[in-house]
């Protein structure tokens, strides 16, 4: 009983419940939903699909988590994805040998370089000029898609290149390459933030920038760094996205992904007010959102009700997670005296 109570009190309990409910609902509708079979020598099935699809959002949310931890926000991620796809695919398309690994590698490096510049630019506006993050990144959010379209000439650039296609559609050891890529980045970020002091310094800057600066923390450098990282992760997400459809669609690549990413971060328990962040939480948040989109199709929610359904899920998860409801549930279970509302001194 106390074990269960402990469990329900965990921050990620309700998001995980939501995940399970969505999976169950989908299975009820389509009985083979949770089945994973081997097809063409790799795993196939909805769970694998969810993993593969999560990769893009996970990469974006990963960077977003770090940015949010410093009290910032990055609205430009979608545009950065578009630019990454545009730069890379235009280069691959114009090369004489689009199928060569070297072509793809060079093109991707160029994409990374361009996104790096954008990240540096965002970081400069926020950390050095002190422009509010939301407005600083709005600049690239607006102009970025224009830049991407400029690169592709306003067209959707389609390519055929086997190595590039592998990024999103390939399998390695039976698992989707995209999921592996995202997984590796996730692990690296988790390791770096928790094994070095980066994590705690990011949190410290997010909680109290003035005090951190006085404590000698390089607040400016740290903030700058997280925007660069965020752009780089978005860039890789852009690779995966463009590889997924084998086309650079500057207008639609990563459209509104910033909202999904922020939602994932917050469902995962990281506060938009900065400070403590949880990468595991972000992972759970990403899985919830990806599953939600897939199950909308599988369950067969009518087109006009999709938004309502999304609203419902978000509201229910957040309500259940909220301190007040948690407290009510606990009190009900234990029939105990009210616990004081915690107010920091």
């Amino acid at each position: 009983m106390t074990g269960l109570a402990q469990l329900t009190r965990h921050r990620l309990f309700w998001p995980i419940v939501a995940l399970v409910v969505l999976l169950l609902a989908s299975t009820l509708k389509s009985h083979s939903f949770l089945e994973v079979t081997v097809r063409d020598g790799h795993l196939y099935g909805a769970p694998i699909d969810i993993l593969r699809r999560s990769s893009i959002l996970l990469l974006v949310a990963l960077g977003m988590t770090l940015v949010i931890a410093t009290r910032g926000i990055d609205l430009s991620v979608g545009a950065v994805m578009a630019i990454a796809g545009a730069v890379t695919l235009t280069q691959i398309a114009s090369s004489p040998d689009p199928g060569a690994v070297s072509t793809v590698a060079v093109a991707m490096l160029t994409g990374l370089a361009v996104c790096l510049v954008i990240g540096v630019f965002n970081g400069f506006l926020v950390a050095v000029l002190g422009i509010q993050p939301i407005i600083a990144t709005l600049v690239i959010m607006t102009a970025g898609r224009g830049i991407a379209m400029l690169i592709t000439g306003g067209q959707i650039t389609t390519v055929t290149s086997a190595p590039y296609k592998t990024l999103a559609s390939g399998f390695w050891l039976g698992l989707p390459v995209a999921a592996l890529i995202a997984g590796v980045f996730f692990a690296v970020v988790a390791l770096v933030t928790r094994r070095t002091a980066l994590g705690v310094l990011i949190e410290s800057v997010g909680i109290n920038p003035t005090a951190s600066r006085l404590a000698g923390v390089r607040a400016r450098t740290i903030i700058w760094t997280v925007y660069v990282l965020c752009a780089l992760f978005a860039c890789i997400a852009g690779f995966l996205q463009s590889s997924n459809i084998m086309a650079a669609d500057s207008n639609n690549a990563g459209l509104f992904i910033e909202l999904d990413a922020i939602l994932a971060v917050v469902i995962g328990g990281t506060s938009l007010a900065g400070g403590k962040f949880s990468l595991t939480g972000t992972l759970v948040g990403v899985l919830v959102i990806t599953t939600l989109t897939l199950s909308i199709t599988v369950i067969g929610i009518p087109v006009n009700a999709v938004s309502l359904f999304k609203a419902l899920v978000v509201i229910v998860v957040c309500l259940l997670q909220s301190p007040v409801v948690q407290h009510k549930l606990r009190a009900r279970r234990r029939q105990a005296a009210p616990v004081p509302v915690e107010v920091p001194a």
Binding site: Y44, G154, T158, S169, N252, T297
Partner: protein, 312 residues
């Protein structure tokens, strides 16, 4: 109801100043650049209404926002252009601003999408396609060629609430409702994008083991669906038939490759027609109030033949 006649003047007085020479000044307000089709449409207009052809084109992109479009049209009126052309974002809500244009004696030409107004004197003509008709033609082809035995159809809808999505859905349903063999088993929005098309198709494939036909409201979603079908280990165009609307280059290529089965064209090259209409009006002529473009339709063989000369 607005009719502020006193400000009607700037149209004629300032056009001399701003346009220079004998060039005909035209303000064109585009919806946005949301798809390959739209990009081709924009390019066609910008390439036709050039200085050399005797036009002074003012172009603006409304980024899918009606307010931007209204703002742009008002600004054209203020700038005193001689003609205004635009592709409305929505069908409704143009009366007031068109009244202003009318009061300023600026003829208005609608391209691609129609407006919903009781007062047809507000615009000179509409030139473009008929979305319902497009849906019907696809539906008819499916009914005639595939609907001879029971088939399951899934539909990839355009952006929820947008006119093409509503009309193309409507047209298809109208054309197929009498054929008992055709069953639409799922319908979901793919937002007119490849990514959306692929995502939704993946879901459809998970939920329904026996899909026979995919009806996509545009080529891009159809192309996305191809990716999903291939990833699921099936052959697009063979195991699952695909029918779409638009006929952009990538779509036509896929059609020629046998991955799509039928495309109803929605011609984006409205530039030449628009130029012709404006010239006619400028020379004092009259034009038909509604000019529906001659759209083709292609099956795989026709696509192979047509592909080499496609401009977009």
């Amino acid at each position: 109801s607005s009719g502020d006649d006193k400000t009607a003047d700037p149209g004629s007085t300032s056009s001399e100043g701003s346009s220079g020479g004998d060039a005909i000044s035209v303000g064109f307000s585009q919806v946005g650049a949301e798809s390959g089709w739209r990009a081709a449409n924009t390019k066609s207009i910008q390439d036709t209404l050039t200085k050399d052809a005797g036009f002074d084109l003012k172009f603006s992109d409304a980024q899918q926002k009606q307010e931007n479009q209204i703002q742009a049209i008002r600004s054209y009126i203020a700038q005193g252009v001689q003609y205004i052309a635009f592709s409305p974002v929505v069908e409704t809500g143009w009366d007031a601003v068109l009244q202003e244009a009318k009061a300023a004696n600026i003829p208005v030409i609608l391209t691609d999408r129609a407006v919903d107004t009781a007062d047809t004197s507000l615009y000179v003509t509409f030139i473009g396609s008929d979305f319902v008709e497009e849906g019907k033609r696809v539906g008819q082809w499916v009914s005639d060629n595939l609907g001879t035995e029971p088939i399951n159809v899934v539909e990839l809808q355009g952006t929820t609430g947008s006119a093409p999505a509503i009309d193309r859905k409507q047209g298809f349903e109208d054309a197929t409702k009498d054929n008992a063999n055709i069953k639409i088993i799922a319908s979901q929005t793919g937002d007119f994008t490849r990514d959306g098309g692929k995502k939704v198709m993946e879901g459809f494939l998970q939920a329904n083991p026996d899909i026979d036909v995919v009806y996509a409201h545009n080529d891009d979603m159809g192309l996305g669906a191809i990716e999903a079908i291939e990833a699921a280990g099936k052959k697009p165009g063979v195991d699952i038939k695909i029918v779409t609307i638009d006929g952009v280059k990538d779509g036509m290529t896929a059609l020629a490759d046998g991955k799509i089965n039928y495309i109803v064209e929605c011609n984006p090259l409205l530039g030449p027609d628009l130029a012709k209409i404006i010239k006619t009006l400028h020379d004092g002529g009259t034009v038909e109030p509604r000019i529906v473009t001659q759209d083709g339709a292609f099956d795989q063989e026709q696509a192979k033949a047509a592909l080499p000369d496609r401009q977009y």
